[in-house]
Amino acid sequence: MSAKHPIHIEVNGVAHDDTVAPRLLLCDYLRETLQLTGTHVACSVGTCGACTVLLDGRPVRSCLMLAVQADGCAIATVESLGTETALHPVQRAFHEEQGLQCGFCTPGLLLSVTSFLADHPDPTDDEILAMLGGHLCRCTGYRNILRAVRAAAESMAASAV
């Protein structure tokens, strides 16, 4: 066995000092070590987007990253967004616009959309669709997701005033 490596990593605002095997993927560190199972893993090759998390505020595929690579970084998973009784505006928009059915792809989408809206507070449909290209949803046909992103942008703009 190779030597384990110490990592210092902040996940959803909580600092963790762990030692990890180099071959441990970030998604497995989050799900199995930290028991944050909101991050979903489907394709494992970076195509589907379900495992997307925020690394220092930017969306990345947690299945395409070793946990050791995230040493010194801050990660946000879907558990950081809202709670069942106090949904994040993006979660509320997905709920109200039925931007999900089975929900498997939703955690990754919520994080990509949250980061996207921070950079694009008033996005065009083309910008939204370009961002959605990084996420596969087999249920919705994307139309409701598009509506949800628009609704989230509007509600966040309204609450920022």
């Binding site: 071959r23 090759v45 970076g46 930017r58 395409l64 990084g134």
Partner: protein, 288 residues
């Protein structure tokens, strides 16, 4: 699957990186962004004994304006390049092509140089590197440095190919002089998926307004991105009109250098048939 066990090293300098490569004697893999390497590790298609992560080598994480072009270090992320005012100004074709690479989350980790080092036949960044005549700078553990044209570097049969004790330091992309037309276009089965065929074109305008210094490179039409010199010759010296682009692009399907990829994503016959359309659209993007 999950990767097999391996050692991990995160050097801070180029010298440390080269010493590690020498020590592991061909049994190490360089990880920059990992967007190609990690899936290969997961599939166990590669089983290095050590993964050397160069993302913390500060001297490789730089974009510099050099000799009228941009030099992009081996640790520079694609997203960083995409949003760099320097790259946008000096080499906008590269920025446009990066916009076609996978999806934003992949570009947030993936590197420009790593895409070239992978020598993937369908990748956008190597196609731009071939079109522009980019140059790849390589360091070896014995202290030697060499610079090779990207066009040779991406050819697996070329002696320019990387040795196991070597590290790609950076890639220099020539700048596009003011007034140069540039365009990139490709066809994918769906958004953010692999390119089937892609094309990068640039041309300047002579005193009469005619196209000069025409360069065309395409992906998907051979085992590496290739120049389409027949198309270039058909445009060079003529008035750059949509009619000319359409006629010249026909040569993209019968160039003798073509040996299109044939795989699950598209047949060789499809790639050959669609090539003129893709090249024409890259020219139209350049003209607009």
């Amino acid at each position: 699957m999950k990767p097999v066990d391996f050692e991990y090293a995160a050097p801070r300098t180029v010298d440390e990186t080269l010493a590690l490569l020498a020590r592991w004697g061909g049994q190490a893999s360089i990880l920059a962004g990992g967007q190609s390497l990690v899936p290969l590790l997961v599939a166990r298609a590669v089983r290095p004994r050590c993964v050397i992560d160069i993302s913390r080598v500060a001297e490789l994480d730089a974009i510099d304006e050099v000799d009228g072009g941009v030099r992009i270090g081996a640790a520079v992320r694609q997203a960083t390049c995409e949003s760099s005012p320097l790259v946008q100004r000096v080499c906008p074709l590269l920025v446009a092509a990066i916009g076609w690479v996978a999806s934003p989350p992949v570009r947030n980790l993936g590197t420009v140089v790593g895409s070239i080092a992978q020598r993937n036949a369908i990748s956008q960044i190597p196609t731009v590197a071939v079109a522009l005549g980019a140059r790849v700078r390589i360091a070896a553990a014995d202290g030697s440095r060499r610079t090779v044209p990207a066009e040779s570097f991406v050819d697996a049969n070329s002696p320019a190919t990387l040795r196991s004790d070597e590290l790609v330091l950076d890639c220099w992309f020539p700048g596009l002089p003011a007034g140069t037309a540039w365009g990139f276009y490709e066809v994918q089965r769906r958004a953010a998926h692999y390119a089937l065929v892609g094309a990068a074109v640039t041309y300047a305008r002579g005193p009469s307004g005619n196209a000069t210094a025409v360069r065309v490179a395409a992906s998907g039409l051979a085992a590496r991105p290739i120049r389409l010199t027949g198309v270039e010759a058909a445009v060079d010296g003529r008035a750059p009109t949509p009619l000319l682009f359409s006629a010249a692009a026909q040569r993209a399907s019968d160039d003798p250098v073509l040996d299109p990829i044939d795989d699950v994503h598209a047949t060789a016959a499809y790639r050959r048939a669609v090539a003129p359309t893709i090249v024409e659209r890259a020219f139209l993007a350049a003209a607009s």
